[in-house]
């Protein structure tokens, strides 16, 4: 069973539906015992970093996530869920993340051309570098996924497994052993996105 962690940020309907469409046994939950018994964990998230990080802390789910990841359980953070995996974010101040992946979250305005629109919204292509991670085993270099974000993963080079170009090279996905994160929305990225979810279910 795969547990989608429900900690009160964002709507999980599409995410649940996307896993159901690939035949995964899925459970949306905020119950630590259910998360502990799951084979895999999904950490979703939309909205502001500070608010989401606080909700994880106040509910004690931050500790549950860290404990389960320490046991080697595969986790996939999506969008803000990916950002929360890093050590800190500079979105409106400085806020502490889960620290499961080395690096910081910084505004894309720091690195992109001034005439480009923020957020980075729409379909953009993935690059994998020299070695393609097993998360992308069903898709190809240059395949498109759907992004909506104004902040990006910085100083996380050693964990980057995919990037995308928006006048600058932006982190599209990260992985540190069993802990994975994608900046884009696989549940909104059609066949390509569903293939990534399928590959995650096989990690």
């Amino acid at each position: 069973m795969i547990a989608i962690i429900d900690y009160g940020v964002g709507n999980l309907f599409s995410l649940r539906s996307s896993f159901e469409s690939i035949g995964a046994d899925i459970c949306v939950t905020s119950e630590p015992s259910v998360i502990a018994s799951a084979e895999r964990i999904i950490l979703p998230g939309v909205g502001a970093f500070e608010d989401a990080a606080r909700k994880l802390r106040e509910s004690g789910l931050d500790k549950v996530i860290k404990d389960e990841c320490a046991k080697g359980k595969p986790l996939l953070g999506i969008c803000l869920g990916m950002q929360l995996l890093l050590e800190r974010s500079f979105e409106y101040g400085e806020h502490e993340g889960l620290g499961l992946i080395k690096g910081s979250i910084r505004p894309i305005s720091d690195v992109i051309d001034k005439n480009l629109k923020i957020p980075h919204i729409g379909w953009n292509a993935l690059s994998f570098g020299e070695k393609k991670d097993e998360l992308f085993k069903y898709i190809n270099e240059g395949d498109f996924v759907y992004f909506v974000h104004s902040y990006y993963g910085a100083e996380c080079e050693e964990s980057v497994i995919a990037t995308t170009e928006y006048s600058a090279t932006l982190t599209a996905a990260v992985r540190n052993k069993n802990v994975c994160g994608v900046q884009f929305h696989p549940e909104k990225s059609e066949r390509v996105g569903l293939s990534i979810l399928k590959a995650f279910c096989e990690i």
């Binding site: 599409s14 629109k117 923020i118 729409g122 379909w123 953009n124 498109f144 549940e187 909104k188 569903l194």
Partner: protein, 252 residues
């Protein structure tokens, strides 16, 4: 680099897709769920569902259709029509919408954009503006293009963007249904005024109209159309191949 988006718009009334010509003379086309699936399979980058139902029964039918679509179609889904309150945002977001488009609701209550952007984030709030030339200026129309609000369109759009609208759909009433191309002049004025994504709507009659749109206005992010897709006059696959051939970046 980010691609230009092609967005079919489905006007839904009593559970069926319709499309007006200059907003009048509605004609039944097809089932929303199967049409959405078809477009997604054929390369649509996003879908807009527009609820033009007036009755409560029709509204309930619409949310059922939305739920079914969102459980089967995995591309971004924008929902508009009858969005007047935060409860309306909540209702459609719970059924799987990713973005919510406001039009008359924002005109009646300009704080709606601000409140919704605070609660759901800027990226969730789309301002849809029906615009027509009146006495030498661009004028905002309400109620599906039937009522002149007297407001100048560019200042209205700027105000909504500063309140948190994350995307703008510019629907030119002057070119809508005419099928002779997008309203380049109107779109250019909007693109110059705001820095959020702009979606062109109204006037597409053939593939070349999209080529002209993106070539003449590189700042436009997406092209939206309804009837030319519904009636099969333009296939999204052919359209994207042609755009790619014209060196316009698209997802294929």
């Amino acid at each position: 680099m980010i691609t230009k988006r092609i967005i079919p718009c489905l006007d839904v009334k009593n559970g069926r897709v319709v499309k007006g010509v200059n907003f009048l003379g509605l004609a039944d086309v097809s089932s929303p769920v199967s049409l959405a699936r078809f477009y997604s399979d054929n390369g649509a980058d996003e879908l807009v569902f527009y609820d033009i139902t007036a009755s409560a029964e029709g509204r309930a039918l619409f949310t059922d259709i939305l739920t079914e679509t969102a459980s089967k179609v995995f591309i971004p889904l924008t929902v508009g029509g009858g969005i007047n309150t935060l409860e309306d945002f909540d209702r459609v977001l719970k059924c799987g919408a990713d973005k919510v488009s406001v039009n008359s609701g924002a005109i009646k209550n300009p704080d709606l954009v601000l409140q919704a952007a605070k609660k759901y984030g800027d990226q969730c709030v789309v301002l849809s503006a029906d615009i027509k030339r009146v006495e030498g200026e661009f004028r905002v129309f309400a109620k599906g293009g039937r009522e002149d609000t007297g407001m100048e369109a560019i200042s209205w759009i700027k105000r909504c963007v500063s309140n948190g609208a994350g995307e703008i759909v510019v629907n030119s009433i002057d070119t809508d249904g005419v099928k002779r191309g997008f309203d380049i002049e109107m779109l250019s004025a909007v693109c110059d005024a705001v820095s959020v994504p702009v979606i062109a709507s109204g006037g597409a009659g053939c593939i070349e109209d999209f080529v002209t749109l993106f070539n003449e206005l590189p700042k436009v992010d997406a092209g939206l159309a309804a009837s030319i897709f519904h009636f099969g006059e333009v296939s999204i696959k052919d359209l994207k191949e042609r755009l790619k051939g014209a060196n316009i970046n698209v997802r294929i």
